[in-house]
Structure formats: structure tokens, C-alpha cells
């Protein structure tokens, strides 16, 4: 029983990471019908930005004297700054790579390829500029372990899970209740009629990228705090997995992204609990493949009818 609850907590933590990244895929897809393949690498860039911001506030570069700020203050300052800088990266990609193609009316496949290549550039550019040595993320807050019977939870795990839930509520509110969310849904519904209604399409798209990349930055920060070793390829596998989670949930739907993310977390932890851990990827992907076979448009996806 204790093992079960312990595993559920681990699954929730992993699922939170997947969900936070998957939401970025789903937001962009929902508005542009574009698979932003660079998103996993934006997550990686977010983790690196978190590293540099945190070490900056800790006094690494000599501008702020070391030890002037307490760990908690650094955390509170770094999170918004990381999210802001990461969303700048996302918006830059949108401006220099995706928007020119969109304005030319290029086939969306070409945009997808561009996204894939942007991801590769971010990965390998990072490797080429910063070198292959791994970065160690500094410890900002003291680790507290709460035990309840035989179950032990760290404060970090709880924070990750609650962050994911809070982000879900916020995004769900933005997309379903606000005007800008309505515009986002409108663009995905009919991108030709929406500009005629006086809605600035490009502003809405930039806002979508800000949201998606910002939360990828948040996920990168959380991930770096939980697993403090950073390397340039860390975003690749987790990004692909989060993307698959988003598709399984039904890409374009916020609820789907979160459900898919948590589902993937539970499948992975469940597989590791029963089988040898080397089988994790194989079985997780097989289960997801079966789900897609059973429901080809994902759990929350709406099947489109083809008109003749």
C-alpha cells in the first residue's frame, strides 16, 4: 500500500513535467495547427536560463554580492525572470522562423520542418557554445522531507504537482473564459474569418507562444530543481514524450494535454514498478500506440469529417 502511494506520488510528479510541456505543444497546435517540434528544446533552454538566472542572483558573476539574497528570494526572483526570458526565446522563433513562412502562405508541412530544424539548432548550438560539460543547478531551498507513516514526500515534489494543477486551472480559465482565449479558439476554428472580425491574429499568436514557452520555462526550472544536472539533449526525449502525451490526450485541448501527461507519468512509473526499468520506453510507447489505435484522434480530440 505504501509502495503504491509512493509510486502514485512519483507518477504525479513525472506527469506534471510532461503535462507542463505538453500544454505548450497543445496551445500552439490549437491555434496554428502547427506541431512546434522545437518546444522540447525550448524546455531545455528554459532549464539553462534558469541555471544562469539563479547563479546570477546567487552572486556568481560578481554583480550581486554572493549571499546577499536568501535562497527563497532568489527562487521568487528567478521564476518570473526565467519564464519571461524563455518566452522571449519562443517568440523569437515565431518571429524569425514561423511567421515569414505563414505570411507567404506556405504549406504547413514546411513550417513543421522548420520547427524541427530550429529544435536541432537550439540543441546543438547550445552544445557548441557551452561545451559538453554538464551544469550543476544550485540548491535554492532546503529540502524538507515530510513523512506520513511509511510515505515520504519532499516539498519539491508537492510544489511540482501543485504548480501543474495551478497552471492547468489558469490556462483553462484563460482559454475558456477570457476574450483572448476566445480569440485563440476562434483562430483555430476559422483563420480566414477571424481577421475580418477585427481580431489581431498575429498578436494572439504571439500571446500563445508566450504562454506555451513561459510554461516550458517554468517546467525547465522545476525540472532543474528536481534533477539538478543539465545537458543540451535533456529536452529531446522528454519533449518527444510530452508531445506524444499531448497527442494521446487529443492535441489542441488543454484538458487532453494534462490528462495525457499524467497518463504517461502513470504508465512509465507503473511499468518500472512491475518490469525491469529498461523496458520503460518500449512499454510506455506501446500503450500509447494502442490508445491511438483505439481512438485515432486522442482521448479528447474531435474527429473531423471530410467534406467532398
Amino acid at each position: 500500500m505504501e509502495i503504491l502511494i509512493q509510486n502514485i506520488i512519483n507518477a504525479l510528479q513525472f506527469g506534471s513535467f510532461y503535462a507542463l510541456i505538453a500544454v505548450g505543444y497543445t496551445l500552439v497546435y490549437g491555434v496554428l495547427l502547427l506541431i512546434n517540434f522545437a518546444h522540447g528544446d525550448i524546455f531545455m533552454v528554459g532549464a539553462y536560463i534558469a541555471f544562469f538566472v539563479a547563479t546570477f542572483f546567487l552572486g556568481e558573476y560578481g554583480i550581486i554580492s554572493p549571499g546577499a539574497l536568501s535562497g527563497m528570494t532568489v527562487l521568487m526572483l528567478s521564476i518570473p525572470l526565467t519564464m519571461l526570458l524563455t518566452s522571449c526565446v519562443g517568440v523569437t522563433l515565431e518571429r524569425i522562423a514561423y511567421r515569414p513562412l505563414r505570411n507567404k502562405g506556405a504549406h504547413r508541412l514546411y513550417v513543421v520542418i522548420t520547427a524541427l530544424m530550429c529544435g536541432l539548432i537550439l540543441e546543438n548550438g547550445n552544445l557548441a557554445l557551452l561545451g559538453a560539460s554538464r551544469k550543476k543547478f544550485p540548491e535554492l531551498i532546503d529540502k524538507a522531507v515530510w513523512t506520513l507513516g511509511d510515505i515520504s514526500v519532499t516539498n519539491l515534489k508537492v510544489a511540482v504537482i501543485f504548480t501543474a494543477i495551478a497552471v492547468f486551472m489558469l490556462l483553462h480559465f484563460i482559454v475558456t473564459k477570457t476574450k483572448i482565449g476566445m480569440a485563440m479558439r476562434g483562430i483555430s476554428y476559422d483563420k480566414f474569418a477571424i481577421p475580418l472580425m477585427g481580431i489581431p491574429v498575429n498578436t494572439i499568436i504571439v500571446f500563445t507562444f508566450i504562454l506555451g514557452s513561459g510554461f516550458a520555462g517554468l517546467a525547465g526550472f522545476m525540472f532543474a530543481m528536481s534533477y539538478p544536472i543539465l545537458e543540451p539533449y535533456m529536452g529531446a526525449l522528454i519533449g518527444w514524450k510530452a508531445f506524444i502525451a499531448a497527442v494521446v490526450g487529443g492535441i489542441g485541448d488543454i484538458r487532453g494535454a494534462f490528462l495525457g501527461g499524467f497518463l504517461l507519468g502513470f504508465i512509465e512509473i507503473g511499468v518500472v514498478a512491475v518490469f525491469p526499468s529498461t523496458l520503460r520506453d518500449l512499454l510506455a510507447f506501446s500503450v500509447l500506440l494502442l490508445i491511438l489505435w483505439w481512438k485515432p484522434t486522442g482521448l479528447f480530440g474531435v474527429a473531423k469529417t471530410t467534406k467532398i
Partner: protein, 358 residues
């Protein structure tokens, strides 16, 4: 006879290459580049069948290559070499020259069967969802092979060099170069025959409009099945050749980066153009090899004129920044690739007098 000029030139060219390699006028490095070029041609043309002609987005092509590589090398190692795991050879090693093509073809068939995993969901699924399935299959293949310990798991599998050596014992000619040339010719021929046939036009019809194709009596499910299986089977052949040319395979050499390479070649050449894919594969291989020498040269120049601090070196990693950048620029300024969906003979109609591929 004028019709066969180009074909004859190709055959003579291949013969000259083999002769040069045999007499030692071509060093091993150039040979390996040529072989890589051949394999890239196979990969690009086979992926072009699905991504170009059929208009789907398959991004897990390296997974099928992986299946072909492992199956064919396990077969040849079991049959012709004394292996630590598999024991003494089952057949006389001198028979390897006859059975090697069979083993590579069996690898291709195995890859085609794995292609079924993608082909069957493609009946109901299209576009982005199918792309995910191909991606997942790539990961699954790698993960599955890493979990089979008999064939080395994550450490990789070797021993194919001994098969090649036993071929050299029979006759001392550059066998691998011969096989790669033959494999390339065979793959391009079979794909070209399929696409140019009336039957294969069904695939282009699916790309244009699936519903209309269905109404015009194209059995879309069957065509998709054939296209995916043929494409992955030919990729398996490339994998078998790859494994034997290098003598060592590792599951991680068939990861998503390799699949990306295949996609780069297809989109560089132009979707739905056989000659474009061949051209792109040749150019891409040459670009990679040029960067191998260009990057250290650039590094040297930058250091002598003092633009770079001594502590920083431009490493080979920049190769994988430059190649994606080339493709991004291509997408911005010429998104249809080098040839678009035209063949070389559509661009230069006079070429048509000099070749006949039937």
C-alpha cells in the same frame, strides 16, 4: 541506342569506381563516402515514397533501417562466422558471396513487416497523428533492441567484418562497394518502377485527394499498406548494407537524428521527385564531408586572424547547427526543394532522349 546512353554511362561509372577501388587508386575514405552516398540515396528515395509521393509525414524512417540492419547482420553472423554467442558457422563461409544479398533482402522483408505497425493504423489515421505513430515506432524499435541481450543490447552488435573478410578470401574485390552499388541500383529501380506504373499512380492520387481516389476505384488501404511496407522494406535494405559496411551497429545510431537526416534529404530534393531525392542525397553527403574538413579549416583561420579567443574551438558540433540552418533557409526561400515535384527530365526535356528506365 541513344536511348540507353545514360544507363550505359551509369554502368560504366560503377564499373570504373569498383576497378579504381580494386587497384588501389581510391583510398578507403573515398570508398566509405561513396558507400554512405549510396545508402543515403536508398534512404532518401524510399522515404520519398511516403513523405513525397503519398504526402504523409513519416518521421521514424531510421527505425526500419535499424530492423533491417540487425536482422541481416544476425543472419550473416549466425550463418557464416564463428561467434561467441551463436557458435560455429552453420554454412561454409565461402558461400557468403551468394547468401549475402539474400540476407540483406530478408532484413528488408523484416523491416517491411515492422512497417505494418505503421501501415495498419494509417487506414484510420492521417497527418499529425500518423507522424506520432511513426515516431513512436522508431523509439520502440530502438528500445526493443536495447532490451535483447543476445545481440548486444545497448552495447551494439559486431562481427559483420568477418563475413566480409570471408568474402575477400573467395575473391579479392571491394565487395562492400559492389554490394552497395548493386543495392542502390536495385532500390532506385524498384521504387521508380513502382511509382511510374499505373498501379503506383494510386499513391499520388491518395496524396492529391484521398476521398476522390477512393471514388475513382483506388483501393486506398491497400495502396497505403504497399507504400509503407515498400518504403520501410527498402530502408531495411539500406540498414543491412550500412551494418555490413561499417561492421558494427548500435541501436542509438538509428535514433531520431538519423530519421531527421532522411527527412532533410527528402525535403532538400523536393517532395515527389525521384531524381531530386537522389541529387539531394549526393549533395547532402558531400556537404557533410565538406564540413568535416571545412570546420577545422575555418577554426584555424579564425584563430590566426585573432577573431576567436584561444580557449574556444569551433568543433564538429557546428555541423549540426549549419545543416538545419541550410534547411531553414531553404524552407524560407525555396520551400519546394531543389526540383519541386518535377523530375530532372521535366526540367531538361532533352535528357529524355538519353535514358530509358523501364
Amino acid at each position: 541506342m541513344q536511348k540507353y546512353t545514360f544507363n550505359a554511362l551509369l554502368a560504366v561509372g560503377a564499373l570504373v569506381l569498383v576497378l579504381m577501388a580494386h587497384t588501389g587508386h581510391m583510398d578507403l575514405y573515398i570508398q566509405s563516402v561513396l558507400m554512405l552516398m549510396g545508402m543515403n540515396i536508398i534512404l532518401a528515395t524510399s522515404l520519398n515514397l511516403v513523405n513525397g509521393y503519398m504526402g504523409e509525414f513519416s518521421c521514424g524512417h531510421a527505425g526500419f533501417m535499424c530492423v533491417g540492419a540487425y536482422v541481416s547482420s544476425v543472419i550473416t553472423v549466425i550463418l557464416f562466422t564463428k561467434d561467441r554467442v551463436f557458435g560455429p558457422p552453420l554454412l561454409d563461409p565461402s558461400l557468403a558471396i551468394w547468401f549475402f544479398p539474400v540476407a540483406v533482402l530478408v532484413g528488408g522483408v523484416a523491416a517491411a513487416l515492422v512497417g505494418l505497425v505503421v501501415a495498419l493504423p494509417s487506414f484510420k489515421t492521417r497527418g499529425d497523428y500518423l507522424a506520432i505513430i511513426t515516431l513512436a515506432v522508431n523509439y520502440m524499435v530502438i528500445s526493443a533492441i536495447e532490451n535483447i541481450d543476445v545481440i548486444g543490447g545497448p552495447r551494439g552488435f559486431s562481427g559483420m567484418k568477418r563475413v566480409i573478410n570471408s568474402m575477400h578470401d573467395v575473391a579479392d574485390i571491394p565487395w562492400m562497394l559492389v554490394w552497395v552499388l548493386l543495392g542502390t541500383a536495385f532500390s532506385v529501380w524498384i521504387l521508380r518502377r513502382f511509382v511510374a506504373s499505373t498501379y503506383g499512380k494510386g499513391i499520388i492520387a491518395i496524396c492529391q485527394d484521398e476521398v476522390a481516389a477512393e471514388i475513382m476505384s483506388v483501393n486506398t488501404n491497400k495502396m497505403k499498406l504497399i507504400a509503407f511496407m515498400l518504403s520501410s522494406g527498402v530502408a531495411g535494405i539500406a540498414g543491412g548494407l550500412f551494418a555490413h559496411a561499417y561492421g558494427y551497429v548500435n541501436p542509438q545510431s538509428f535514433n531520431i537524428l538519423k530519421s531527421t537526416e532522411c527527412m532533410v534529404m527528402v525535403y532538400l530534393g523536393g517532395m515527389g521527385s525521384m531524381s531530386g531525392a537522389v541529387l539531394a542525397a549526393v549533395l547532402f553527403t558531400m556537404l557533410i564531408e565538406a564540413l568535416r574538413f571545412g570546420i577545422p579549416a575555418l577554426d584555424g583561420v579564425m584563430h590566426t586572424i585573432g577573431l576567436l579567443p584561444d580557449s574556444y574551438e569551433i568543433s564538429q558540433v557546428w555541423k549540426w547547427v549549419i545543416i538545419p540552418l541550410v534547411l531553414i533557409l531553404l524552407m524560407q526561400f525555396r520551400p519546394e526543394g531543389i526540383l519541386g515535384n518535377k523530375e530532372l527530365s521535366d526540367v531538361f526535356p532533352r535528357l529524355r532522349r538519353f535514358y530509358s528506365f523501364k
